[in-house]
């Protein structure tokens, strides 16, 4: 039920509730709570929120190189001369770039696909930034591509598709190690993960 069904609600409040209700994971009750929270915010905070939403829609573009979301193209990572330009790490989502950067262990470049091949949801190769990846691979000089899609069925299918279509036989194609997470438990680990963890065992 939306606010417009409640008699006495102001039209502008109803509109805010409706707009918030369209966000993923926000139901009608959460939308109402958020709307009333925004009403109670100091004016400056509420305007800052509105300005942030407007600014992100006006200024954010795709980086012409890595397809990550950025204010200026090429993005900070692609234009940084200290980055290792011989390695490209392919990720599903802009949030994955942030996760990789938090590790401080990878200094190469990225390519963001903006999704994975998901046949059941009608997402095929044409809906992803795969054409841009294959064009990029045909013109840049790299030695390794790390396919860092999630180890899910759809992530693996996307990695296989990239492997099949990347069109170069002179670069090393790798994916991230599969195995046990820190804090995990052998007892609850599925057979595929445990097999891969065993295959990738390391000397201590």
């Amino acid at each position: 039920m939306t606010q417009e069904n409640i008699s006495g609600a102001s039209p502008s409040l109803s509109r805010l509730v409706q707009e918030l209700n369209r966000l993923p994971g926000i139901g009608p009750k959460s939308a109402q709570r958020l709307a009333y929270y925004i009403i109670r915010l100091p004016d400056d905070d509420a305007y800052a929120l509105a300005d942030a939403v407007t600014s992100v829609k006006l200024n954010i573009i795709f980086c012409e190189e890595c397809q990550n979301l950025t204010d200026a193209s090429p993005c900070q990572v692609c234009s940084d001369p200290r980055r290792d330009r011989t390695t490209i790490c392919v990720v599903e989502d802009p949030l994955d770039v942030l996760a990789m950067e938090r590790t401080r262990s990878y200094r190469g470049l990225y390519h963001v696909l903006h999704g994975v091949i998901s046949p059941i949801n009608g997402v095929g190769p044409d809906q992803l930034k795969l054409k841009e990846l294959f064009n990029r691979l045909s013109r840049v000089d790299i030695s390794e591509m790390v396919v860092a899609t999630n180890p899910t069925l759809e992530g693996e299918a996307t990695a296989m598709y990239i492997r099949r279509h990347q069109g170069r036989d002179d670069i090393k194609i790798t994916h991230l190690a599969r195995g046990l997470p820190v804090g995990g438990s052998l007892e609850y680990t599925d057979e595929t993960t445990l097999t891969r963890a065993f295959q990738g065992r390391q000397e201590i």
Partner: protein
């Protein structure tokens, strides 16, 4: 007496969608309860005991708790992860095509052990031979059958006369094959060659493994694919979305380096 709060089941995972911060809304097809939607609490966290056990195209033993509006997955243990199938892109695409059809035809709180077994058997065949198209045709045909929509292949659905050898017509809407003399008004009516009718009858009478030994030419394969997927789509009421990726793989040309 109140029904038990928990139950165990054997299920094949059909798909999932993210829910809340770290949960998964999982769709499974169980042997004894039919299609079930359930929540895997915290299943998206890498340290969750459910992680890896809820991947699509996996058979699992599950413990579930009846929730007020939706069941909760309390435990899941892999029976068969079909790991070889998942190493092949065509195998994955075909498996997801089956999963989408089963999601569409499977009904909640409506046990259908034959349909469950058909899914498991077909996944096994595709795992052994990802190139097998006949396995998909067998699944489509028997999916209709175990759903109570088995097409009529031996008598004209209009005049009820036994079909003579020759070309016929087929209508998903009318429930099967028609002789050439009967010409009802039906937008779904399509030609059916004698060879295609013979293969459909073979699918009807054979076991899955035997049917998959049959090799047919491309024209006949296309006719059967078109006829059965049209029939499945007709009864589903919407397109099978994973079919377009499967077609993409069938039609693709690989870079020279892999040829």
């Amino acid at each position: 007496m109140a029904p038990p709060k928990t139950y165990r089941c054997e299920a094949v995972i059909l798909g999932y969608a993210p829910l809340n911060e770290a949960d998964l809304l999982v769709t499974v097809f169980t042997r004894d309860q039919g299609k079930v939607r359930a929540v895997g609490k915290g299943a998206r966290r890498s340290t969750s005991k459910l992680v890896g056990h809820l991947e699509p195209l996996t058979t699992v033993k599950m413990s579930m708790v009846h929730g007020r509006s939706i069941d909760i997955i309390s435990q899941a243990e892999v029976i068969n992860s079909f790991s070889t199938l998942k190493e092949d892109l065509t195998g994955i695409a075909k498996g997801l095509y089956l999963a989408e059809m089963l999601t569409g035809f499977g009904a909640e709180a409506s046990p259908n052990p034959d349909l469950f077994q058909l899914m498991i058997d077909t996944l096994r065949i595709i795992e052994a031979d990802p190139g097998s198209e006949m396995a998909l045709r067998y699944f489509e045909y028997h999916l209709l059958g175990v759903s109570g929509l088995m097409p009529e292949l031996y008598h004209c659905v209009e005049c009820r006369d036994e079909l003579e050898p020759g070309a016929h017509r087929f209508s998903p809407n009318l429930g099967g094959t028609l002789c050439l003399e009967c010409g009802p008004e039906d937008a779904h009516l399509r030609p059916l060659s004698l060879r295609a009718l013979k293969v459909l009858r073979l699918l009807d009478r054979s076991q899955l493994a035997d049917a998959c030994k049959l090799t047919i030419d491309d024209n006949l394969s296309y006719e059967l694919k078109s006829l059965l997927s049209t029939t499945v789509t007709y009864w589903l009421g919407n397109e099978i979305r994973s079919n377009s990726f499967l077609e993409h793989l069938r039609n693709e040309t690989l870079p020279e380096v892999y040829i």
